[in-house]
């Protein structure tokens, strides 16, 4: 009998293990993909190739129905919750009953020691970019969109409502020393009465980006920095409520619930949204998803570009790339120099994470002469 028990256990355990490649082959076959195991023989077994095979094998398991069935065991997903990119936080001041979502890598850029070289590369690239534009007679205004977790107060006892990282401070100091114009949104948000900002949040509860309140404050600060007298009557504004699904909400679950968001929609006298193409306006906004939210795609002309246009009373063109505020948008401009024709000011917005994330790319971009 003990022998039978041993045999039964050994067979069950080995079948459980051997089922991995068999089910993998089956799922690859069913999906019309080549069997992942065959990848091993495609090249000479160098360390790099063997690592790639290993990674592919690990990746393939995420498509394997057998493994997924095991992964669905009760409690397992909960135990591994820390792997999710979404960090849920309950009980924020004045939002006691709500769960606010934060982007975990962004939160870690604040809680963890940074790669200190990133901010140095960023300041060098910014000064170089300012010089490139200045050579064409174009003024540059830099806007760093604060990390949501740096602005949203996380607890009753948090003394600093807006966290200014040493990297940000170093970056701003380097730019100030080189006379680069910067709009300090951290200072702008820090000046907002905490009671007010908690009631009308500067950031969206289930999104990584700023709310209509936060982006309007940014637009106000940028316009103040530009110092141009506003042209009255060019654009009108009205408040509308939109169903909005936050990006964090989308990442978190398969069936996100839209939340109503009140935004300020901007339109000209004919009721048309602000939409000059690049090269058709004196002000060019370049940026990442902070410049996209409520403006492009899911928005109705209520984002940063529209608020800038409303406050300036003149059209503002937009070039934006999600996640590419630091370098990709500048490279895009270098490829399309005609977009800079007639431009007097470039407002350059990028996310604070680009100053601390080791993944941030900060290339020196040359504009064609």
């Amino acid at each position: 009998m003990p022998h039978l028990r041993s045999k039964g256990f050994v067979v069950a355990a080995l079948v459980s293990l051997a089922a991995l490649p068999v089910t993998q082959w089956w799922s690859d076959h069913a999906a019309g993909r080549p069997w992942t195991g065959a990848m091993l023989w495609e090249r000479l077994p160098t360390a790099a190739h063997l690592r790639a095979v290993e990674q592919e094998q690990q990746q393939a398991a995420t498509r394997n129905g057998y493994v997924q069935a095991l992964a669905a065991a009760p409690g397992l997903a909960w135990l591994r919750g820390a792997d999710s990119p979404v960090l849920p936080v309950r009980g924020l001041p004045n939002h006691a009953g709500e769960t606010w979502l934060f982007y975990r890598p962004d939160a870690r850029l604040i809680s963890q020691r940074p790669d200190e070289g990133v901010a140095r590369r960023a300041s060098a690239a910014t000064i170089h970019w300012r010089d490139q534009l200045a050579a064409r007679g174009i003024r540059l205004v830099v806007v760093v969109a604060p990390n949501k977790a740096a602005v949203q107060r996380l607890g009753r006892h948090t003394t600093a409502v807006v966290w200014r990282s040493p990297e940000l401070q170093g970056y701003q100091a380097a730019l100030a020393a080189s006379h680069v114009e910067v709009v300090d949104l951290h200072a702008v948000y820090a000046a907002v009465d905490p009671q007010v900002s908690q009631k009308t949040p500067l950031y969206l509860p289930t999104d990584t980006h700023w709310s209509s309140v936060g982006l309007d404050l940014a637009a106000h600060a940028i316009v103040t920095r530009l110092g141009w007298p506003p042209r009255a009557g060019a654009y009108g504004a009205r408040s509308v409520s939109l169903p909005h699904v936050g990006d964090l909400e989308r990442w978190r679950g398969p069936t996100p619930e839209p939340r109503p968001e009140v935004v300020t929609q901007v339109a000209d006298a004919q009721g048309k949204a602000v939409s000059p193409r690049p090269g058709e306006a004196e002000v060019l906004l370049i940026g990442d998803s902070f410049s996209r939210i409520f403006e492009v795609g899911d928005g109705p002309g209520a984002g940063l570009r529209s608020q800038l246009a409303r406050r300036l009373g003149r059209p503002v063109a937009l070039v934006q790339q999600d996640g590419g505020g630091a370098t990709l948008v500048r490279q895009e401009l270098a490829r399309r120099p005609e977009w800079l024709r007639g431009v007097k000011v470039v407002v350059w917005e990028f996310a604070e994470r680009d100053l601390t994330s080791p993944d941030a790319e900060w290339s020196l971009v040359e504009l064609p002469r």
Binding site: A13, L14, Q57, S111
Partner: protein, 470 residues
Amino acid sequence: MIFASTLFLGYFLPLVLGVYYLLPSAGKWRNRWLLLASYVFYGWWDPLLLPLLGGLTLWSFGFAWLLGRTDYPDGRRRTLLVLGVSGALLALFFGKYFGFACENYNALAARWGWSPAPAVSWALPLGISFFTFHAISTLVDVYRREATPMASFADYACYLAFFPQLIAGPILRFGAMAPAFAERRHGWPQVSAGLGLFCLGLGKKVLIANTLAPVADLAFNARQLDAGLAWFGLLAYALQLYYDFSGYSDMAVGLGRMFGFEFPRNFNAPYMAESLTDFWRRWHLSLSAFLRDYLYIPLGGNRHGLGRTCANLLVVMLLGGLWHGAAWTFVVWGLWHGLLLVSERWLDGRAWYAGFPRFFRVMLTFGLVLIGWVFFRAPTLGAAMDYLRALVQVVPASEAPAKLLGVELFTLPHLLTLVAALFFAWSRRRAHDWSTHLTIRRALLCLVLLWLSLGVLGTHKANPFLYFQF
């Protein structure tokens, strides 16, 4: 390839085990197959490392053969031993410590105006700390006539490269293991006991150590810490290290059993130790035994008075610390343990708190071990000192970095895993013994652990074992 990966579990293990038992038990076929599998396993990291392993095998086999000759006088045998061991240590030095030595020399050179050494660095050859120790064990055991050299080069190569223990131990004494390569017992009970222990080890690694790993990583890389966060992170690291390494050891011992070998246990509830002396009788037993038999005793052990005994202890612990890694943090960790052991030796082998009730003895020992882990985990001595300061910073940090860290650390899964890990670390059950008599209930528990581990591994990237870096 690591044990806790789908590649090893789904392909390598079933294939190697299946073919092994299809081969005839008589003759050398099974050892040859294990040798081939072990070289594939090691070469999987980087095929270019295979000549290093092969070269050291050839070197130590040759010297062991010479040392085994009965017609050589003692003086010649001693010279051969010194030569053979020096060769193995030289491989270890160049593989692991050369960059560290150059770095420190260059720091001194910059200060004193000497010409700097060329800046060279290469990746640590995986498992070199372990297989060089196996080679040294061979030479010393044969020199002491405690073992005879293996007649078959392939069998010896299999001993040195045997994949279950190749990368992170346990460190197997040649004298104890050599007979098993000639003859060993196989059967369903051995395989089931091995698989059972393997499943337990896998569960320890995947379900406990991997869950606690982010807690320790976040705490040790934090911008701001207070005492609460720092102690939580340190506790998580202590448990992660224990479950990671003891999990690996269980898997290694379990794999050994599947192929008919009985490896010694490597852990014996170390966090239940009542003194530091007791701790080293429970933690990484195979390393402790190696350092005792091949370093402490040859240095004179405790045979030349208290002063010499204490000096020997300090030397052994310093070198033991350095063995874990080429960094000053490991030296300080070894020194910390060395000083504590010396203090206990000074008090007739008892800790200063030996008169306290058992609970306090265990807690105080655990606390002293935790302080040592700060040096073990911190990337630099400066970072270790910062962390120690945070451990006594009672005023809660209130800025965003600490708040965010708290939100990430103090979650229910982390808290429950930590409590469960502490419970099992302080329980009387030992995986090594528990798995030798598998009842139906135990077998079912092992299967559940295996399935859960496969589920986790199938949805997340593999995490390497902590001891691989040593």
